[in-house]
Symmetry: C2
Subunit: 361 residues, 2 copies
C-alpha cells in the first residue's frame, strides 16, 4: 500500500477501536461480562477479531489501539493473544464517546504526535474488506493533507430508520487512489422515521453515519479546544502525566458523545463516501440477515429442525431446537437462558434484560 512517490505518512496511520458497548441487545448471548464485541456472532471469530484483522493490510497491530474498560480488555486479550497488551487504553469509568476519544487520541499523540487516527466501532460487520480499506486509506491521506475532521458516510442501499444520517454538501476535489469521492458535510441528522428516510434517499445527498472518523491527533485536539474545553484540558493533563488525571479529572468529565461535543459544532468536516457493505448488526433481527438460510427461509446457527416455520432465526448452542407452525420468531439459546421473541420486538430485548435476576446479567 505504501509507495515512495506520494509522501503519505503511512507509518503514522493509527486505528482507535471504540469497544465500550454493553451489548444488552444480544442477550442472552451477550452479558455484562461478555459484550457483543467478544461474541462469535458470525463464523468462529469474534467481532473484535474481525475488526482488527480487516485493518491489518493497512495498519500493523502495533498501531491499533482499543479503548475499553479493564474487564473487557482482559476478555479481548484472551480472544486475541497476539494483540499487544499495551495497546489497550483503559477507561477507569465510562464517560461516553467524547471521553473515550479524548483519552485514546491523547495517549496516541503521546506516542506519536504526527499520528493520523481512524476512529472505528468494535462490533460492526463489513464483508467487502478491499472496498473498506480503499476508502480508509484515502481517508487517511485526506486527513493528513487537509487537517480537517473526516467522517466516512455509508452510501445507503435502502431507507432505514435505524441509523443516523449525514447530509453531504459540496464535493471536495481530491486525487484519491481508486474511486473514492469526498464531500463537505452539511449536517448530521438524527435517526429519521421511515417515510422521512425515503424522502432523504430520493435526494441522493444522505449517507448512513457509521461512527467512523479519521483525523490527525492535532486536528481533534484543536476541535476539543474550540468546542469542548473540559476535554481539551484533560488532553493537556494526559500529555503531561496520565496517571494522576485518570484517578481525578477523568472521573469528572461529563457523559457526552463525540457527536454532541464536537462533530455537530465543528465546521471543518469532510466526508468520504463509503460504497462498501456495512451493518452495525444492532439487534438479533439484524444478525438474522447474515446467517445461512434453510429451505423454509429460516436463518439457523446450531441444530434446528423446522416444520411449517417461516422467517425465523435460530441461534443455538446447546439443545436441538424444533419449530412448528410459527413465523417471524427469534430464538436464542445459551447454557442458562433462552430468548424467544418476535422479530419486530428485537429492539426491545433490553426490556427483558432490565427484568432479569443478577445471575443472568
Amino acid at each position: 500500500m505504501k509507495s515512495k512517490q506520494d509522501k503519505v505518512p503511512t507509518e503514522h496511520f493509527h486505528a482507535l477501536i471504540m469497544a465500550g458497548g454493553k451489548g444488552e441487545r444480544f442477550w442472552p448471548l451477550s452479558r455484562e461480562s461478555r459484550p457483543k464485541q467478544v461474541l462469535s456472532l458470525l463464523g468462529d471469530k469474534t467481532m473484535i477479531e474481525l475488526t482488527v484483522e480487516r485493518l491489518l493490510p493497512l495498519i500493523p497491530r502495533e498501531r491499533i489501539w482499543i479503548v475499553t474498560n479493564a474487564g473487557q480488555a482482559k476478555m479481548m486479550a484472551r480472544v486475541m493473544p497476539k494483540f499487544p497488551k499495551k495497546n489497550f487504553i483503559i477507561e477507569p469509568v465510562g464517560r461516553d464517546s467524547a471521553g473515550a476519544v479524548m483519552l485514546g487520541c491523547a495517549q496516541i499523540a503521546q506516542q506519536d504526535p504526527q499520528a493520523i487516527t481512524a476512529l472505528l466501532p468494535a462490533d460492526h460487520l463489513i464483508k467487502d474488506i478491499k472496498g473498506y480499506l480503499t476508502v480508509l486509506e484515502n481517508a487517511f491521506r485526506y486527513a493528513a493533507r487537509s487537517g480537517d475532521l473526516l467522517t466516512i458516510g455509508i452510501k445507503p442501499w435502502e431507507p432505514s430508520s435505524a441509523y443516523g444520517y449525514i447530509e453531504r454538501g459540496e464535493p471536495i476535489p481530491f486525487r484519491a487512489k481508486g474511486d473514492v469521492r469526498f464531500y463537505k458535510v452539511r449536517k448530521f441528522v438524527e435517526k429519521p422515521d421511515l417515510s422521512t428516510a425515503r424522502e432523504m434517499l430520493k435526494t441522493r445527498r444522505f449517507y448512513w453515519n457509521a461512527g467512523m472518523f479519521v483525523w490527525s491527533v492535532d486536528a481533534i485536539r484543536q476541535a476539543f479546544e474550540r468546542h469542548s474545553p473540559v476535554h481539551a484540558e484533560g488532553w493537556e493533563e494526559i500529555i503531561r502525566s496520565s496517571k494522576g488525571y485518570m484517578r481525578g479529572g477523568f472521573l469528572n468529565l461529563p457523559k457526552i458523545s463525540i457527536d454532541y461535543a464536537v462533530m455537530e459544532k465543528a465546521r471543518n468536516i469532510g466526508m468520504a463516501e463509503g460504497e462498501f457493505d456495512w451493518d452495525d448488526v444492532g439487534s438479533w433481527s439484524a444478525l438474522a440477515r447474515h446467517l445461512p438460510m434453510n429451505s423454509e427461509g429460516n436463518a439457523v446457527k446450531g441444530e434446528a429442525l423446522t416444520v411449517d416455520a417461516r422467517d425465523c432465526m435460530v441461534f443455538g448452542e446447546k439443545q436441538t431446537i424444533a419449530l412448528l407452525g410459527v413465523k417471524d420468531l427469534i430464538v436464542v439459546q445459551t447454557a442458562d437462558a433462552i430468548l424467544i421473541c418476535h422479530k419486530d420486538a428485537a429492539q426491545r430485548v433490553k426490556e427483558v434484560v432490565h427484568k432479569l435476576p443478577k445471575k443472568l446479567l
Copy 2:
C-alpha cells in the same frame, strides 16, 4: 365402601389400566423410552401414579393390573416401587386395545373367575376423585348385577371435536348409591366437527367417550365369543396356559381396537353418567389449561420471564426462558431439545417427531 346389607362383591373389583401409549404428542418431554404415563406433567407425580392412587380408596393395589410392554413396565415399576411387579401384564407386541383387553381380562379371570373389571386409561386427568369413585363404584355394582358391558360417559361441558361421543338411549332404572344415572347406549359416534358437536350438545343426549369400561370377565369373554372369535380363542388358550400363546397366537392377533372389535357391535351396553371433571390431556395445549397462570395469562412451569407475551405456555426444566412480544406459543424445554410451536399446531407435534434423528426419539 363395603357393607353387609348389599351383597356387592367388592373383593372381586379389579382395575385394568391400559398403558400402551407412545406419547409422541408430548415430545420433547415424552420419548420412545419415556411415554406420557411416566411423565410428571402436573405436580410431582407421574400420570400413572395419579391413576393408580385415585383408585386406592376403592381397589387395593393387589387388584390393580397394568397391561403394557416390557420396557414401559420396567419404567413404571421404578416410579411406583410399591406397585406389585406381578400385576404388570406384559404384551409381547402391541395388538391394539382389543388384544390388550383380551390379554388383561383373561389373566385376571385366571386369578379370579368372578372378577368385575374396570378398564381405565393410564394417562388421563381427573381432579374430582370423590365424584369419580362414586360413579366407578356404582358402575361395578351395575356390571355385577346386570351382566351387561358398561361404559362411563362423561357429561360434556363444552362442544369439542377432539373426542368421540356416546349417544344415550332409554334410562335404566338402578338403585345407585349417590346420584349416578344409567342409560342404554344408543350408539358410539366418531369425533365430530365442531358445529356437529354443538348440535349434539343441544340435544343433551351425547357424552364424551373417555375409554372407561366396566364389566365382569365373563361378560367380556362372551362378547368376544359373539363378536370376535379370534380373541375368544386367545382367551381359551390363556386360561389353559398363557406362555405358549404369548409366543404364538398372540402375535397373530389382528391390530384392532376394542371399540371396533366389540363395543360397536354389542347390544347389551349400558352407560353410567359421569359428572366429574375429566381431561385426556391429549396435547401440550390441553396441558396448558391445567398449569398455573402468570399475570399476563401465560401458563408456566419452571423459570420464565415474560414481557408483552400473552396466552403462551412454558414448560421448562433447565434454562430460564424469556418471552418477548409473542403470543399463543408453546415452549417446552428438556436437557437435549426445545420445542417451540404455535398453540394451533399442538396436535401436529408428531410431524416433528417423525423428522427427528434417533438420539432425540
